[in-house]
Symmetry: C2
Subunit: 258 residues, 2 copies
């Protein structure tokens, strides 16, 4: 397909590279930041543009990967002609595209993307949505081109999927930052936790997270929890988190034993 | 060395197997649960005992891997003779062993252990402590036998290390359970998150967690956060967690930008 990108962030970069590798052709890349537009355009062999109005209307697919807030502002200035317009957002409905194109859809690859980190799309599930059967078929084919598992879901399902990803990825990473700070307070390198971090993620690949829960909270080892809590006296927000997460684990294990 | 195990849980099982593979000899395995004692004793070619008094005093090393609360109760019934007594707990001081043996130490491998899951000790850091130089040397050598990286740390450091592991492992796994439930509410399998869970753990192997934080909270995408929050109305505890974790991420990213 002849594709133009609207947005040149982490997701656009990784998805663009994967689609190019799969043989697709790129027309233009829009970003309001010239350096970002140019970098991705160079990678994809496309033209960089920094004004939405400069996007030609003859691409067959426009992939919009903007911050949710920026999307309407930009799209109202874009003429997609007869092309298909999709967004890649977890938390935006299909509906939001209605006033900007006749053929619309959603193409949501579920992964945490970084510009500089390669990802293997064959391990990434893609969630598609469209009210147009032809568009739906095309989006599914696009996912197949990437080697991805493809799921057709509604906007409502996608929003909750996105929320679950925030817990399993963004919040998990935040817990890593807390660990890292606690180690630094004892002059220990973050290095020492890496094996356990890998193992914690590896364990849930074959078993449910409920089955592999370990630690003082699931054993309800009150003495240990009290010692830990006392260590967090200088970090009231983390102390509160410690209490709530421990209670959550304990209550869950109690109710699963009943 | 001639080793006896006091305790036959997850850690004892994996550490025992690794030490046997490294060529060490096992004398006895104590657990108050006969089946546990027998299973591990069989794996290690040792004798199973279910009374602490039945442990012979001629082993050269006694590795105590009991729940923190159970430790004093059991150890006061054990005669370790001239042997070295170590515990494997993150949150117990070296001190707690003082009244049970002349030569004491701590041997703390940092990992989340399951009885049925093989682990590679060469990737696991081991934290040792002893006030006796000979004991310290022996414990370091034991870690080297396992191929582990070895660190000498104090009880105070170890307690905070353990706390950081609770955040990076036990609490992380609990967030996985929440994600899993949220997906189930939309009839989506936990499967779809697995690639992202692996990637989230993989990203912090080479970069600091602060550098790789993504998601609506770090972008401070208020609209998305409001939608997510609204989805959690039936789960007040998770809604509170969502708010606190998002605020934590946002504040951290603000202060690192200053």
């Amino acid at each position: 397909m002849r594709i133009s990108f609207i947005g040149a962030g982490n997701l656009a970069t990784r998805l663009g590279i994967a689609l190019k590798t799969a043989g697709h052709e790129f027309v233009q890349v829009y970003s309001r930041t010239e350096a970002s537009a140019q970098t991705l355009a160079d990678l994809l062999g496309a033209e960089a543009v920094i004004r939405p109005e400069a996007l030609h209307s003859d691409a067959s697919l426009y992939i919009c990967a903007l911050k949710d807030d920026a999307l309407p502002e930009v799209l109202k200035k874009v003429d997609v002609g007869n092309g298909i317009l999709v967004h890649t957002a977890g938390s935006l409905s299909l509906e939001v595209l209605k006033s900007f194109a006749a053929k619309t859809g959603v193409f949501y690859p579920l992964q945490t993307f970084s510009k500089e980190r390669e990802v293997d799309f064959s391990t990434i599930p893609v969630f598609v949505e469209s009210s147009n059967k032809v568009v739906l078929y095309i989006l599914k084919q696009l996912a197949v081109d990437l080697g991805s598992e493809v799921y057709e879901i509604t906007s409502e399902q996608r929003l909750k999927l996105h929320l679950s990803a925030v817990f399993a990825c963004n919040f998990v990473n935040y817990l890593y930052t807390i660990s890292s700070d606690l180690l630094a307070e004892q002059n220990l390198p973050f290095e020492v936790l890496k094996s356990m971090i890998r193992e914690t993620a590896a364990k849930v690949q074959n078993r449910s997270p409920d089955q592999v829960q370990t630690g003082p909270a699931v054993r309800f080892d009150r003495k240990v929890m009290e010692k830990h809590s006392a260590l967090l006296v200088k970090h009231p927000a983390w102390k509160a988190l410690y209490k709530e997460l421990s209670q959550g684990i304990h209550q869950r294990s109690k109710s699963s034993q009943q």
